[in-house]
Symmetry: C2
Subunit: 230 residues, 2 copies
DNA sequence: CGGACACTGTTCGATACCGTACAGACGGTG
DNA sequence: CACCGTCTGTACGGTATCGAACAGTGTCCG
């Protein structure tokens, strides 16, 4: 029933203790689970196709995603450590189900269950690595590569081959222009890696996407120019 | 004697237990404490003016810093959670003293001391926030702003007003050209925020640097053009 | 079935940054 | 004090991306 990777890592006893404090919720795309500066909040353990992005918003309305959590993990764990939300916004990218618990309640619980605390800490570390990787990628890769990476990440998190994402939303995640995403998307489409229509992206070739996503700068010359294709 | 922020946060009993397992070491700038893929290693608690950068290296020799730790914290904590090094390189940016302990030993210790584990987890979270902030800044800010940010960060971590950093090293931290750093450095110098000569950067105006580092895109027009100054 | 809205396609000039290359200046060493 | 390695200054053309528009096209709703 409850297929959450993080919960599955817990000792059986702790799983029971945790779930007894949780309630099921439905998350809708676009919903904001936590805004910057919040002192407390809920911890969400995501199920099935749900995904939540950690977004940093700069002065204007535009944003930049620094991480994406899915059914393998959770968001809001900082509240279970007694820490504030920081500068993040938790933004639901993909609708779906989740279990949630109050941060303060979980803090008291994990304060008694060392195994649980250790599991949470480990997840935070792994997640922060992903943040660093995304940051590094954003620095050195062009938009098609970054788009491929984000699509790939969304697929891995949700296990869905069709993603409901508009170019505008992706632009916000990558911190680039909407028009830039359109070009990059057409690029990926021309290579037969994805197909899309009006807010739906169909993944056709996972390995191909991975190749593009991890391509180094120098490799780019090998690839065909957009305009010459079909 | 031992002025490390993270150790100071521990309960007194845990401080003793931890320090008994540590040995003092001297770290020299340029030294690499951990390479990507390492399965285990030491945890370093940094003292006084020491600073260590978390660097992600892309295919070539060039890199990109995603975080900087100083005497307020530690590096290598993932080893105390039984996790591998990930894709990071731990690179000493600023020479100085540190205490270190074996990761596996600390893992056993923190497995018994819940307060210690909680403190470590909290630090990891706060640090990963900083990583996200740096990533976001790199995305939307120009080179002078990012340079100001890094100098500021180095100052906060080491509490030194003169930093021993070459343009080439800074370029590697920011993931930009060496020439780009030279221009940005001249920019900051012309505004009277820093002075520098051959590998030494003198901080003249901390608040001014902060202003530049946090300036949004739109604010940039207010500032004077480099070439028109003096 | 026609209108409205949201999404995608495409254009324009502007610009910040890149890769590369070389010239000048500091500072320690023989 | 002349040398040489290291560091900084500057230049060049090339390009990915930007900001701001406006023009098509799909889908839903009345």
């Amino acid at each position: 029933m409850l297929h959450n990777g993080l919960v599955a890592q817990l000792p059986p006893t702790d799983q029971g203790l945790l779930l007894r404090r949780c309630e099921p919720v439905e998350l809708k795309a676009g919903e904001i689970l936590s805004a910057p500066g919040a002192a407390s909040g809920h911890v969400y353990f995501l199920l099935s196709g749900t995904s939540v992005a950690l977004v940093v918003r700069n002065g204007g309305g535009s944003g930049l995603a620094v991480g994406l959590a899915g059914r393998e993990g959770a968001v809001g764990l900082q509240f279970a450590l007694g820490l504030g939300a920081g500068h993040f916004t938790l933004l639901v990218q993909s609708s779906g189900a989740a279990f949630r618990a109050d941060g303060a309640v979980l803090q008291r619980l994990s304060g008694r269950r060392l195994g649980m605390l250790r599991t949470f800490a480990g997840y935070l570390w792994v997640f922060s690595q992903e943040v660093a990787e995304l940051a590094a990628a954003a620095q050195v890769q062009d938009i098609p590569a970054r788009l491929a990476r984000w699509i790939l990440l969304s697929q891995v998190r949700t296990h869905q081959t069709e993603l409901q994402l508009t170019h505008a939303h992706l632009a916000d995640m990558l911190g680039v222009r909407r028009a830039g995403v359109t070009l990059a998307a057409r690029n990926l489409k021309n290579r037969g890696l994805v197909d899309y229509r009006r807010g739906r992206i169909q993944i056709l070739n996972l390995e191909g996407l991975a190749t593009v996503a991890h391509a180094q700068q120098g490799t780019r010359g090998d690839l065909l120019d957009d305009n010459e294709l079909v």
